[in-house]
Amino acid sequence: MSQRVLMCGNEALAEAAILAGCDAYFGYPITPQNEITAYMSRRMPEEGRVFIQSESELAAISMVFGAAATGKRAMTSSSSPGVSLMQEGISYLAGAELPAVVVNVMRGGPGLGSIAPSQSDYFQATRGGGHGDYRTIVLGPSTVQELVDYMPLAFDLADQYQMTVLVLADGILGQMMEPILFEKRPGRELPPKDWALTGAKGREQNIVRSLWLAEGKLEEQNRKLQAKYDQIQKNEVLCEEYRLEGAEIVVVAYGIAARIVRSAVSRARQEGMPVGLIRPITLWPFPTEQISRAAEQFRLFLTVEMSSGQMVEDVRLAVAGKAPVLLHGRPGGGVPTVDEILDIIKELSVSVKR
């Protein structure tokens, strides 16, 4: 497909996963991501690949675990309450060091919440989410095109580092239709999956495990995981800077919120206000260094997110007291408007001038 096609985010990311060589998709219905499951139920068999509608999210992530252990590229998708159920499996994937791609099309919470878009799973996504000391790589696309572009990256990162990559979208991105281009790009060079369970033919038995009972063994395994995470923090940060030249105020936002902020920043600039945007694309690893450097240079930070304030904690850790960090949060399915953000920027511009 070298022509632009109009697709909603959910279907677009599903097709991108297929193009990225996803061997198996397992999923359970939940709004607002049902288009992914429906699309996969049609397309995966067409490609001779595996689709299963599982009995639960617990089963879906366990099926991913099984397929991944045999060396296949496997994924699942869900929305917030379902992703909570998957945390068991995600922890086991981390412990067993298996690659997997999980898409969370976030909706409002806590509890059953609502089906409106939200960004309130940031803590869960970036802190591991389940039990134990672990991380998942978290990608936060902000357009349907980025959803498409980051799916192959998600699979490559998962295979390279043998871990879960979480694509953190939201109800707007999932439902919104945009013209997109599917471009085949060369993937990364990946290590062989010599750990995979393929039957012990001509080699010793392979074991995929997360239980380490002998004294000191689990600590050693955890240190190995942490060393891997350090490498990722060093090498894999993605972050976009927009209109930072001459800025005094920096807005930090990701995903769909960043899309809205970008419009507000663009208008504020037209009106002569000194404002720019830093948009974390990898939410873990977080662009701590980039924001820390910015804190040396800019006077005021504003975080805009569709939650009561989750990413703002990472921004504050990065800024480390060098500048004030304010929050404009819209929890429970609230979506900020461009005007709403513009008004805040206006007020802040006045205060920095003083």
Partner: protein
Amino acid sequence: MKTVFARTPSLKDCPTHYCPGCGHGIAHRLVAECIDELDIRERTIGIAPVGCAVLLYDYIDVDCIEVAHGRAPAVATGMKRTNPEKIIFSYQGDGDLASIGAAEILHAGHRGEQLTVIFINNAIFGMTGGQMAPTTTLGQVTATTPRGRTAAEQGYPLQVSEIMALLPGVIYVERTALDGAAGVRKTKKAIKHAFELQVEGAEGLALVEVLSPCPTYWRMPPAKATEWIKTEMTKVFPLGRLKG
């Protein structure tokens, strides 16, 4: 001299961590013997449960995976659907399969997954210290039924095999017991058949429930434990082929 019995190659030459009189060691040997007799070692993947048999891979020399409590049938589904040529078996206890994993085994059967399930029923949670399982018999004293299980308080023992046999996607269900030499032989025959069906590509799930002694948490000597299977357990869990 004629060799009448030898360790089968897929069973590792090492002592197990199991308690004296436990059935797991015997069941492991039977599984390993069936794998070797069917010559499927090089394409078999075993799934270890959470429970006493979590270290299955220390004893059975095939590719193995350790999974979350009860999720083995879902993990097995992910493996088999992406690798139809491989032989996948799960080895699960009664806490794993009948309690926390009830949904996963039911739905794997319901979907007719081509899997071999070895279900070890010892009527108790062994690894965590002898708590009640769904399969604990009425009157049985456990760490969490100190006055004995009653139907009014904890419900009746759960007969998973009978439920599984009702599902069209389940093609073979047999209940056997490790209660003596004859029972061990019957168990091996059943396990072998459950593997053969998968090797033949038969469309559906094969399950063998094995009543197995847990002398430690039944608080009785091994000989009495096998006797208890015969006299008490089989009353609730009658032996024989339920389907296929």
